[in-house]
């Protein structure tokens, strides 16, 4: 990056099924981030608005709620990686010297998105491409993993239960269990696509999240005694051809996409996985989180099951994953999901994550996949 970039403010509207409009949620998250940053909207030089399910007008229209300042506003859409992509655009705007301060806001309501997709199918008729659902696609990964590595359904259930229990400490999470969730409970929930049960599937709901990034000069001025949070890597890749490449119906591309994107991110950051304190991934289903342990380099191939058995990826473990509940329990509305990861990573690096706090957190990695497909990875680092 040409210039150093820092996260100076984050905000969120709780994820869930609460019937609040995306407009109101986006305003809430944006205002919270501006207050957290300590800058007025009038100083923001560019706004990137990430959503999947709205109309073509919403990105620019919702921005008017923050103020009419004439700033450039861009709608960003990259499926599940929409929020991560909007954040990356804001980072690049500052890194390239185009803005001193840039804002990325993401919002969506997955429930209305599902209805819209159903209406489109009623109008246009079904398509060959639509046959395989995300739950089925990742279940194909899970069954093959069981065949190749001897992974058990209990391992998948342990990952899901861990993320449900992390979410108990996150007031913005969609799934708020009133008791400690057990793997047995996860396995007893309704089967969605073998071996995935409903408690293993990411929570679909609504929400909004926002992050504000700025140059070093601005970050220092508004730090107010807090540690600075620097973006030391921002990488995005689309698919490269691999043997057995699936073009039709694949929700995301080959798993190698995560490996190559993370290698680029580690190289840009000048660190390896051993330097990372906590990780957020596209854990739409537990098979993903399990595979990303290995694909991101936190253990060797086939060793992810051992990390789960040891509790290494839970809060208090060697390398906690999905500290806010992840997609499985914090939720996955679409547009804001990647920005919720940035919210959590920033709080962790500032030491503000309360009961979820990873002691001594210094670097955090945020990974998202977007159907189509893309992989986006950011690494954030704490600076005094």
């Amino acid at each position: 990056m040409l210039k150093d970039v820092y996260v100076i403010g984050v905000g969120m509207h709780p994820f869930g099924k609460h019937g609040i409009s995306t407009r109101d949620m986006a305003f809430h998250a944006g205002q919270q981030a501006l207050q957290d940053a300590g800058v007025p909207f009038q100083q923001v030089g560019a706004l990137y608005s990430g959503y999947i399910g709205g109309t073509m007008l919403e990105g620019v229209s919702y921005a008017k709620d923050y103020g009419l300042t004439g700033l450039p506003v861009v709608h960003v859409e990259n499926a599940s990686a929409t929020g991560s992509s909007a954040f990356r655009e804001a980072v690049l705007a500052v890194a390239g010297g185009h803005s001193e301060i840039a804002m990325a806001v993401g919002f969506d309501d997955m429930l209305t998105l599902g209805m819209r997709m159903g209406m489109m199918e009623m109008i246009e008729g079904p398509k060959v491409e639509q046959i395989v659902l995300p739950a089925a696609f990742f279940a194909l990964w899970a069954v093959r993993r069981m065949h190749d590595c001897g992974t058990t359904v209990e391992t998948y259930a342990k990952i899901a239960a861990k993320n449900w229990n992390h979410a108990r400490f996150n007031p913005n999470a969609q799934r708020q269990s009133d008791h400690e969730v057990t793997p047995e409970e996860v396995l007893k929930s309704n089967m969605v696509a073998y071996p995935h049960t409903s408690m293993m599937a990411c929570a679909a709901g609504a929400g909004a999240a926002c992050a504000i990034v700025a140059s070093k000069d601005v970050a220092r001025k508004v730090a107010n005694g807090r540690p600075l949070v620097r973006v030391i890597a921002s990488q995005m890749q689309s698919e490269s051809y691999t043997e057995g490449h699936v073009f039709l119906g694949a929700v995301v591309g080959p798993s190698e996409l995560t490996t190559t994107t993370s290698r680029a991110a580690y190289e840009q950051a000048g660190v390896g996985p051993e330097a990372i304190s906590l990780v957020h991934v596209h854990d739409a289903f537990p098979i993903e989180e399990l595979m990303y342990y290995e694909l991101l380099g936190f253990c060797g191939p086939g060793e992810g099951d051992r990390l789960v058995a040891e509790g290494a990826t839970a809060l208090g473990g060697r390398i906690p994953f999905s500290t806010d509940g992840g997609l499985i329990a914090r939720g996955h509305p679409g547009g804001p999901t990647g920005l919720a990861q940035i919210w959590e990573c920033t709080l962790q690096l500032r030491g503000q994550a309360q009961q979820r706090q990873v002691p001594g957190a210094r670097m955090a990695l945020a990974h998202m996949m977007g159907a189509g497909s893309v992989c986006v990875i950011h690494i954030l680092s704490k600076e005094k």
Partner: protein, 144 residues
């Protein structure tokens, strides 16, 4: 008499009715790399060179499978069954196909032979007097 037509063009050819003809998936062949792709590509994904249209083999090996019980994120109905199988099938030439697979959980094992088949798709707003049946491809265990 009901006439069967493909759900979409350029994805597959329905069986001709000739003995032994299972129909075929319509793919691409890259002379530069010797690789096959599905569905048809405009250019070779590896070299961006030209590709040739081809029909892919109708038999392959099951790479993975699942059984979907709760199709919440889509409305495409495959008949009136409560769930359906989905698999990935490796065809000769390095092509992996993702597809509906016929049968019930317990019918499939990774590595088993599979063959191309077709089944009707329930269309929205279909009239009772409509004599067109839209078909899509699937695979089934090849027990021959």
């Amino acid at each position: 008499m009901t006439m069967q037509v493909p759900l979409e063009k350029d994805y597959f050819r329905l069986p001709s009715g000739e003995p032994g003809d299972l129909g075929a998936l319509l793919g691409s062949y890259s002379p530069q790399t010797g690789k096959y792709f599905y569905p048809r590509r405009k250019l070779c994904p590896i070299t961006s060179g030209p590709v040739e249209d081809c029909e892919l083999p109708a038999r392959g090996i099951l790479y993975s499978w699942t059984y979907v019980k709760d199709p919440r994120m889509g409305t495409l109905k495959m008949g009136d069954q409560s769930g359906y199988g989905v698999g990935q099938i490796d065809l000769p030439g390095g092509v992996r196909i993702q597809s509906i697979i016929l049968g019930q959980q317990g019918d499939w094992e990774i590595g088993m032979p599979m063959r191309l088949a077709f089944q009707p798709v329930k269309m929205p707003n279909k009239r009772l007097d409509d004599n067109i049946e839209h078909m899509t491809f699937c695979f089934e265990p090849d027990r021959a």
